[in-house]
Amino acid sequence: MEYKILITGTMGAGKTTAIQQVSDSPAVLTDVHNTRQDESAKPTTTAAFDFGELDLGEGDCLRIYGTPGQERFSFMWPILARGAIGIIYLVDATRESPIDDLDSFIKAFGESSGTIPSVVGLNKCNDESSYLAPAIQDYLDSKGLQWPVLLTDVRERSEVLELFEILISLNEALVMEQA
């Protein structure tokens, strides 16, 4: 059986970097030359999906999808999210209004955002932007979403693993609840 985890966030939030930390095969890189230098000054961007895979044995596998940074694909996200065991929302603290970014990604996932175990990783954070962690927590509270918010640097493998660990534990809790 196939299980999937989604990683989403704005252009340059660190999705490709995060997926590369955890997948078996070098992620299927779909990065191309970035023609939207106005949105982000990075040289490459992901055009389709980032994709990573972990073989779990016994015929099971975990697929990790990164949503493309260019928002014109967002109509596909609710379909992609169907049946997912988790969503990681990466928030880029250096952007103009990170909470609005998060808000628009949560909205893009529609109904599924409330039903899938989720975690927020606040990336590229420094002292000036550290106010964002409690602010995001408060924003989520106001939406009735009880998700954890972690300060992360997705260039560190251990910090990416923490985000995954939360999703696994949230699933464990749901399994336990049903038992």
Binding site: Y3, L56, L62, T115, W147, E162, I166, S169, L170, M176
Partner: protein, 318 residues
């Protein structure tokens, strides 16, 4: 001067850094339901409430105006700004901004009759109640034989006073401590020159110092505990095992011994997590948790503990 509370008030900025404006704007945007009257952002000349940095000339100009309500934003080292209607300290926290906006209306009556509500209780219970009570962010002053020794200011996430006296022994003795609720201005005056530390970090430090030696949340072994909210991980350095434990104890209520079995944490480690979260108001006894409006995820199809265990081991080994 106090703006008309009926009308739509607007907020202006004078001399603030852009990240500080962002903090205030985001409060105004994400908390409309918690602001007691609607407020927009406006140019300083059209605003009725101004957030001002007294170190800048724009800020100074705002402080001289008598037709606006001025909230000074300053460093703790600077002397308190006398011309301001209210003062907030850096770094700006969204909660503190929200409280200051809601104080705009309360201020006149509070200033005329500074209400000192005196109460008493066990120290850890007092601390927790003050931190966890969202409806009252007023600071408290704890006194001993008439002498103030600690100021707890949840709105500013500060704790001030003879912090070396705030220790395990004092936390656990059954003595009752007397405390007064005071205005923020009063709190700043009392114990002004004493040590100061972030409130949440101090509570976590205490929890670590206590180790496994106590259960602050009550000695009833059959009591069910549950996380009401996720702990603020930005205040604590937590190991992965804590993350897992919180996910489990957020969804289901457990007794402490069940929680130990399910989470695989040692008793001292689990008690650090539980005591710290209890002090900061994130952990509750199940009897007090609200079954509120929060959205609860549903179990994805086909997931079972074997799959989850394999994902975990593949990730950590890969």
């Amino acid at each position: 001067m106090y703006p008309d509370t009926e009308s739509n008030q607007s907020i202006g900025f004078a001399g603030l850094a852009s990240h500080e404006k962002n903090t205030i704007e985001c409060v105004q945007r994400i908390y409309p339901h918690r602001l007691s009257s609607v407020r927009d952002i406006a140019e300083p000349h059209a605003a009725s409430i101004i957030f001002a940095d007294p170190q800048t000339s724009e800020g100074q100009a705002a402080l001289l105006r008598s037709d606006v309500y001025v909230i000074a934003i300053q460093d703790r080292r600077q002397p308190m700004e006398q011309g301001a209607d209210d003062v907030l300290y850096r770094p700006l926290r969204p909660r503190a901004v929200l409280d200051s906006l809601n104080r705009v209306e309360q201020r006149p009556s509070a200033a005329l009759t500074p209400k000192l509500v005196s109460e008493s209780g066990e120290l850890h219970q007092i601390l927790r109640n003050v931190i966890a009570d969202d409806s009252n962010r007023q600071p408290i002053v704890l006194s001993e034989q008439g002498q103030p020794w600690l100021v707890v200011d949840p709105a500013r996430d500060r704790i001030r006073g003879h912090l070396e006296h705030l220790n395990e022994e004092r936390l656990l003795t059954r003595d009752r401590h007397v405390f007064n609720r005071v205005t923020p201005e009063e709190a700043s005056r009392i114990l002004e020159s004493e040590q100061e530390a972030p409130l949440y970090r101090t509570m976590w430090k205490l929890a670590y110092e206590l180790g496994g030696r106590a259960r602050l949340f009550g000695n009833d072994h059959t009591a069910l505990i549950k996380f009401e909210r996720w702990p603020n991980f930005s205040e604590t350095r937590v190991a992965g095992k804590f993350l897992r434990a919180v996910s489990l104890i957020r969804h289901n209520s457990f007794t402490v011994s069940d929680a130990r079995m399910k989470t695989g944490l040692s008793e001292p480690a689990l008690l650090v997590l539980l005591n710290g979260s209890w002090l900061t108001g994130e952990l509750c006894l199940d009897s007090e948790t609200e079954r509120g409006a929060s959205k609860v995820p549903s179990k994805p199809g086909g997931v079972n503990s074997s799959v989850l265990a394999r994902i975990r081991s593949r990730l950590s080994g890969a």
